[in-house]
Structure formats: C-alpha cells, structure tokens
C-alpha cells in the first residue's frame, strides 16, 4: 500500500484524458502499469513476509481466549501498541541512518513528565506554573527536540559512540523524570493532555488512528521524499552520500531530533492511556527492548540503510498480539517477563527464518 505507484499513474492518465470522452489508454501504457503493479506485488509480498506469523498468532489467540477476537479487545490492543508504535517509527528512522538511540525510552518518560509538571497545580506535585495544556504540548515536543539535538550533536559533531551516549542520556533523563517530581506520579491530567491516549472515535482509539497515520506518512516520506531517500543513502554508505553532496551531518542530527520528538509523542499517548505520568514510564518499564525488537523483527537493519515502515508496523503488531495473548492466558505476573522476553527472542528467530536473507546479519 505504501509502495503503491498507481495514484501517480492514474493522475497521469487523468491529465491526458480529454473531457467527456471515454478514457483512451494506449496498450503500451497498460502493459507498463501491469508491469509496475506486478513488480509492486512482488515487493509487497516480501514486506509482509511476517503475515503468516501474524495469522498463526490470531489463531493461537482465539484458541487461548474467546475474548481475543472481539472488537473491544482488538481496539484495546490497538491502543496499547500505539504508543510503542510511534516510538518504533522514531527508532527505525534512527536505525536507518545507521545510528541507535537507547534514550528514546528516557524521552518517552521525561517529556510528558515535564509537560504535566508544568501543567498540574502544586497540590498535585506540579511546578505551580499551571501552564495552559496546549502550551504544555509544545513543551513536550520541545523536550523531545532538545534531547534529540544534544544526542545528535554529541554523536555526529562530537563523534562519540552512539551506544554509550544514548545509554548515558537515558539514565540522565530517567533521573530528571523522577527528580523534578520527587518520585511522585502526576494524576488529574487535563483532558486536552490525556485526549490522545484515551479518546475513541466510535470503537477506534484516537491514538491508533494517529499512529497509523504516522506510519503511513513516514513510509511515504521515506519512499518519495528526497530527504527520505537521503536517509537511506546516509545509512547505506555515508561517505558516498557525502560525496554526492548530501548534507550527511544535517540529515543525521535531524533524524535524531525527529526520533526523540516521536518518542515524546509516544510518551504522551501512554500518559493519556493510563491517565497519569509515573516515574516508571519509559526507562522504568524498559520499553526500549520492545522498541528494538519490533524494529528488528520487522526487518529494520541495525547496520543502517535497510528497512521500511511496513516491516516495522508488522513488528509492532506482532509484539502487541503476543503481549495480549499472554495477558489473556493469565500468565502469572512472576513469570511474565521471562515469557515475554523469550517470546520476543522466538519471534526474532521466526522473522529471520520467514524473512530470508534480508533479515540476516552479515557473516
């Protein structure tokens, strides 16, 4: 769907068509369209290589519990994975340029914490600034942008190792997250702040709609926008990208910033979903493992330059199903982490088997 070239083709034919007459398309053009469509089908098939796995999970889920396939449960999964999904988009972008960012989980907790802290009254452990909730949202993105900028500058300009920089950053951010509210949780969030994570359009969670839109737009951006293509070039061979006149450093820093802002948005969704910002959100829950796992299961290479949004989305959905099935199966809380981790490792192996060569690490 994201790689669908037909809209272009249609607009071309529409443009050349005389008004009021039946569309006359040259046989050559038809053949060209067919060729392109079949090309697309082949590549689409490759992208959704994990589809059989998802189908198996659907079957397993419905066997485990009759609740699994109900609309409300699926909607619930949608809401649950939205926040993760947005962060996975951010991490995938960073992985595509050949970087990595562990601090997205820190931003995911800190950005909504700072915003909420500025919004809620002192009595509810706020700062007392009692900021307008909409200004609070600006602050949220500003925190994301600032963290991304610092990471980007340290890694790109300072040429420090991205792993250790963002690991350090995660801990700093988590410390700030707890520090500013003295390890309290912030409740009583204004409705504007919680809307994104908690509201529904009919049966469909708003957060899911927004997340799907972000996946689609990012996918289109990566495929059709010159900066999106530059991201692949930078990740695939930075020296060649530089020699071709691409501003490699600017692209990289921009992507670190975009990734962190997406993480902040994911944090906002999570805060809305649970109606609170806790000190645990992000780093405390260790969401970064799920983020990396979803991206890698979806075929985004840790070496940069390879991967796409369809794959990343499949990875997120797969994790969402697994999580939900474990919940429905009433797995004991004591064991849930071990099983969760084990299942993710299993999914990685499965994705490697199903996905073929492109999911393999180099020898």
């Amino acid at each position: 769907m994201i790689s669908d070239p037909t809209p272009d083709t249609q607009s071309e034919t529409a443009g050349s068509r005389a008004p009021g007459r039946a569309p006359a398309v040259a046989p050559g053009a038809v053949r060209a369209i067919l060729a392109r469509t079949s090309d697309m089908n082949v590549s689409l098939l490759r992208e959704v290589a994990l589809l059989p796995v998802l189908l198996v999970l659907l079957i397993v889920g419905s066997l485990v519990s009759p609740v699994f396939l109900t609309v409300s449960n699926i909607a619930g999964i949608g809401q649950q994975i939205s926040a993760l999904g947005v962060v996975v988009v951010g991490e995938s972008l960073i992985l595509l340029i050949g970087g990595m960012d562990l601090s997205l989980e820190g931003t995911y907790g800190l950005a909504p914490m700072v915003a909420a802290w500025l919004i809620v009254p002192i009595a509810a452990y706020g700062s007392g600034a009692q900021l307008n909730p909409f200004l609070g949202l600006l602050v949220l993105f500003a925190v994301g942008a600032a963290v991304g900028l610092v990471n980007g500058l340290l890694i790109v300009k300072g040429r420090l190792n991205g792993f250790i920089v963002t690991l350090g950053m995660t801990i700093v951010l988590a410390g700030l997250q707890n520090g500013i509210v003295r390890a309290q949780s912030l409740f009583n969030l204004p409705s504007a702040f919680g809307y994104l994570g908690s509201a529904y359009f009919g049966q469909v969670p708003v957060s899911l709609v927004v997340t799907v839109a972000i996946f689609v737009l990012t996918g289109l951006f990566l495929r059709y926008h010159r900066v999106g293509r530059a991201i692949y070039a930078v990740g695939g061979n930075p020296a060649a990208a530089r020699a071709a006149g691409i501003k490699v450093e600017r692209v990289k820093i921009g992507v670190y910033m975009a990734g962190s802002m997406l993480a902040a948005l994911g944090g906002l969704m999570e805060a809305g979903r649970v109606s609170a910002v806790t000190g645990q959100q992000g780093y405390g829950e260790g969401i970064i493992f799920s983020v990396f796992a979803a991206a890698v299961i979806g075929g985004v290479s840790l070496r940069g330059g390879r991967g796409n949004m369809i794959g990343a989305a499949t990875g997120v959905i797969l994790l969402g199903f697994v999580q939900n099935i474990l919940d429905l199966a009433n797995v004991s809380n004591y064991w849930i982490e071990a099983i969760d981790g084990g299942v993710i490792l299993f999914a990685l192996v499965l994705a490697r088997i199903v996905g073929g060569e492109k999911t393999a690490e180099d020898k």
């Binding site: 070239p5 272009d8 293509r229 695939g236 060649a240 990208a241 530089r242 020699a243 071709a244 330059g305």
Partner: protein, 520 residues
C-alpha cells in the same frame, strides 16, 4: 595450450549461473607448476566468478577442479583449499589490528597459539623470500604493498603451490609494481604456479608466459605471450561488436585544440597547502579554464589524490585558496562545492562512489534530488529512472534495470555509476581521481571519452588526478606533482610517456638517457 610439466591445477567444463545470467560456460583451464598464466577479460566476463571457484568459495554448477589430478577438497573447506591454492584478493583480507605473524597463521588449525614459533616461522618465510616486514608489526601500520606481501607470505606458509593474484597492481605505485613483478618471477622460478589477473595488458606481456582470455563467460583464447600482438589480445577480449567502443577515446582525441577558447580561469587554486594523510601539498597553484582538461599526475602519495579531494570539498586544507569563477568555495564541504558546481569522481568507488543497497537510478540521481523533487520535496521513482537513463545509456552501463542494487553490479559498472552520478548534475568542473582504476580497456576508453566530451562539447573544466599515465591522453595540459609540490608542467599534447615517468620520479633532466632507465 602447450606447457611443460604436469598441470598443477586443472578446471574442466566449469559452468556457473546466477539466476538468468550464465557467468561461466564450460571453461577449461589448466595451470602448470612454474608457469605464470595471465587471465584477462572485460568487466563482467566472469573473472571474479572464476576466481571464487578456484579459491574454493563458490561451488560450480557443473565441471570439476582438480589439483595434480586429484579431486578438489569440498567447497568451503578453505583451509584444505589453501594447501593447494591461495588467492591474494583485490581488496586486502588481513585483520588490521593483528600482527603480521598472526595474520600469516590466521585460520591455522592448531588450538593453542605458539607465539614464539609463529613469529620465528614468519621471520623464516620473510627471509627465505627476501621480504623485510617485521613479524610483530601491526597490519594496520603497513602500506598496501606490504599487506600484499603478507598475503603472499600467508599463501606460502600454507605450502600453497598455486597463487592467484587478482588485480594485484591496482593500488600499487610504480616502484612497488616493479618489486611485485620480481616476486612473481621468483615464485614462478621456484615452481609455484601463478594465475595473474589484470586489466593492464602490458603487465601480462611483461610477466606472463601464457595468457587466457575470458569473454561473456567463455574461454575464447589461450595463447603464448611470445609473438602475440596486443591488438589481437584486445580483439579477443572485446569481440567483434565492441571494437568501436574501444576506439571511442581516439575519436575525441582527434579534436581541434579546444573548440571553445580557453576563457577566463574557471578554477583557480592559489598556494594550496595541506597536511592531509592522503599526501601533503605545499604551495600548489594551478588553473583550469572552461573547456579544458587538465591532468594532475605523479605518485598518488605525492598529493595527486589530495589536490583532487581538496578541490572537490571532500577534505579541508591548511592554507591557500580555491576559487571557482572567482568566488571562494567553502573548504572541506562537499555539499557546498557541489552547489558551486564541482562534480567529484572519488578515488575509491567502494568507499565513496555508491550506496550498495540502493538501485542504479537512485545512485545516479543522488546528486540531483533537488532538481527532481517537486515543491514538497517529493520525487517519483519513475522520474529518477528517466533522469538516469540517458547517462547510463551513454556509458553503456549494464544492469538488469534501474532498480538493481549497485552492490550487485560488476566493478566496472559500479565505476560507471559513480561517473554517471557526477555527469548527471552537469557540473562546471569535474574532479576525477583515478577514474579508470580496475576497469577494462573498452570501459576505460568510454569513461575517458565521456569526460573529454563534457569539456569539449559542454565547456566544463575537467581536472583529472591520476597516476595512470595512459589516462592522460584526453588532457590538454598535465601538471606533475612531486612530494606535494608542482614539479613541472607539460602543455602540449601528445605527452611522452617516458618524459612523464621521469618527471613523476622528480628527475629534473627529462632528457634522453635517463628516461630509459626510469621507465624500467
């Protein structure tokens, strides 16, 4: 083929397919002990496939490899293969952070590491063959020539009786090549069989006794070098159809003295000084006019690559200035130089020339995304393919389509992508560093011709930085660098090869007698 002695290595009926392409079609080839056999062929003729099969890395679809009549070890059993045949690849295969001794005994089957013995045996091999590299040296500190010696020594340490040299001179300077030839002769004299793969036919004539020609996966000729004419060899490589391609360069060589009047200086470099690791520059000044092809030659370490990289914005400099049309170009910024109109064909295509996972069209149009993109910055893949098509066609680039990842192409076609990427943005000045390295005769002529055309038809300036003297045929002037300084300038083509050699060696008397000696 008539050769003395038993065949040490014998390939019979080797077939290999990759999808729909038949890379090798029933190749029979044998190499005898003490013989140096040259293997030549255009890019994509199947040389690399043959090398992989001979090295035991790739399983042929049909046919067999025999060593002294015995069947070859299992494919992939590298250590057993190495006892027979060892390959020195085009791209160094040593571990940079390990010592020479460790690299020579890399993959040894002993489970314990006997450091002292390893070093002693390394020293023995080095001494026996007259090499002089300390066993303890770290490979990252060695020159390319020394790394090659390490790889040859590795082959000898295993007792390999056949050594396969894949484009061994590609990254070497003239003196190093001469020493390599001595070593190859020494190897052959001691009974080692050598398979020598090269694009440089003169090298084949110099050190090989026999030569085999691959074309489109078939062995079309095996002949003794003695009495063979170079033209016949080229004809065998190129086949009937493509001979016109090969002579393309000569066509544009027969131009009038620069159709466009050499106008005001397009590029003016003044007092450029750099302490670059790729070769120092001190106080270099030069000019390129519109429509002019200027060569910069010398040893690569003499700053030939550095001046190209600096002008292209790929690296900064310490002092001096670079002006394009009178305006200073921001230093060390490739993107700024490109916006100012400087195209860049980098020295190392693998490192800087292309993004292997991306398609041909996308790589070629990477320099013009700003022009292809609409108002929102959006581009259609079809418009990229359309923009790339004329340039790739002009360079006879062979690919399965605009979407084929460049990493899958042969080396020569990859180089064409790199050149196409530069031509497509129609720069005012093209800086090309060793653009013909590692590509076959016909492609070489085509690439040089495309550069000459840009200058003569479109009035762009071309700065050709190369140590490959035969590339200089397209130049109007040649500047010779020695140890980072402008040593001399030749301003009237055709340039005398011997004089150029003498000048690059920094010998002031580019005269009669010394030329002969220097050329040796």
């Amino acid at each position: 083929m008539t050769s003395t002695g038993p065949a040490l290595v014998e390939m019979t009926g080797i077939e290999k397919r990759f999808g729909s392409t038949r890379a090798l079609r029933g190749v029979d080839l044998s190499i005898s002990a003490g013989q140096c056999l040259g293997l030549v062929g255009r890019n994509g003729a199947g040389k690399s496939t043959l090398v992989s099969i001979l090295s035991g890395l790739l399983e042929p679809d049909a046919g067999a490899v025999r060593f002294e009549g015995a069947p070859s070890p299992r494919v992939g059993d590298v250590s057993r293969w190495r006892e027979w045949i060892a390959t020195v690849f085009q791209h160094s295969m040593v571990v940079p952070d390990q010592s020479v001794a460790e690299n020579i005994f890399l993959g040894s089957t002993d489970s314990l590491v006997h450091w002292r013995e390893m070093r002693a045996r390394t020293r023995d091999i080095m001494r026996a063959w007259g090499f002089d590299i300390p066993a303890e040296a770290l490979c990252r500190d060695l020159t390319i020539e020394q790394l090659q010696i390490v790889e040859i020594a590795r082959a000898l340490a295993r007792g390999a009786r056949c050594v396969l040299l894949d484009e061994p001179t590609a990254a070497l300077e003239r003196e190093a090549i001469r020493r390599l030839f001595e070593r190859v002769r020494q190897l052959a004299d001691s009974g080692v069989a050598v398979l020598y793969i090269s694009h440089h036919l003169e090298e084949v004539f110099e050190i090989c006794q026999n030569v085999a020609v691959l074309r489109d996966g078939e062995l079309v000729m095996t002949a003794s070098v003695a009495g063979l004419r170079k033209d016949d060899l080229v004809a065998a490589m190129v086949g009937g159809a493509a001979v016109s391609e090969a002579s393309a360069a000569q066509v544009s060589q027969a131009r009038g003295p620069a159709a466009s009047e050499p106008g005001a200086a397009l590029l003016s470099v003044r007092n450029l000084t750099s302490r670059s690791p790729s070769g120092r520059l001190s106080d270099v000044s030069l000019q390129v006019s519109a429509g002019e092809v200027v060569g910069v030659t010398g040893l690569l370490s003499a700053g030939v690559a550095t001046i190209g990289r600096t002008i292209a914005g790929a690296e900064g400099h310490d002092s001096g200035e670079i002006r394009l049309r009178g305006r200073i170009v921001e230093q060390g910024r490739r993107d700024a130089a490109q916006r100012a109109g400087v195209g860049y064909v980098p020295q190392d295509r693998r490192a800087e020339g292309f993004v292997p996972l991306l398609g041909v069209a996308e790589n070629v149009t990477m320099t013009i995304t700003d022009r292809l993109a609409g108002r929102l910055g959006l581009m259609r893949p079809a418009s990229r393919a359309a923009a790339a098509a004329p340039v790739t066609r002009a360079l006879s680039l062979v690919s399965s389509g605009p979407g084929q990842p460049v990493g899958e192409l042969s080396g020569g076609n990859q180089q064409k992508v790199t050149v196409a990427r530069t031509l497509v943005h129609e720069p005012d000045l093209i800086v090309a560093i060793t653009p013909t390295r590692g590509i076959d005769v016909a492609s070489k002529a085509l690439l040089l011709d495309s550069l000459a055309r840009v200058a003569h038809d479109k009035g762009a300036g071309v700065l050709l930085c190369t140590d490959e003297l035969s590339d200089l045929v397209i130049c109007d002037r040649v500047v010779v660098l020695v140890r980072g300084e402008v040593f001399t300038e030749f301003s009237s083509p055709p340039f005398d090869r011997d004089e150029l050699i003498v000048a690059t060696e920094g010998m002031a008397d580019a005269g009669n007698g010394t030329a002969e000696e220097a050329a040796r």
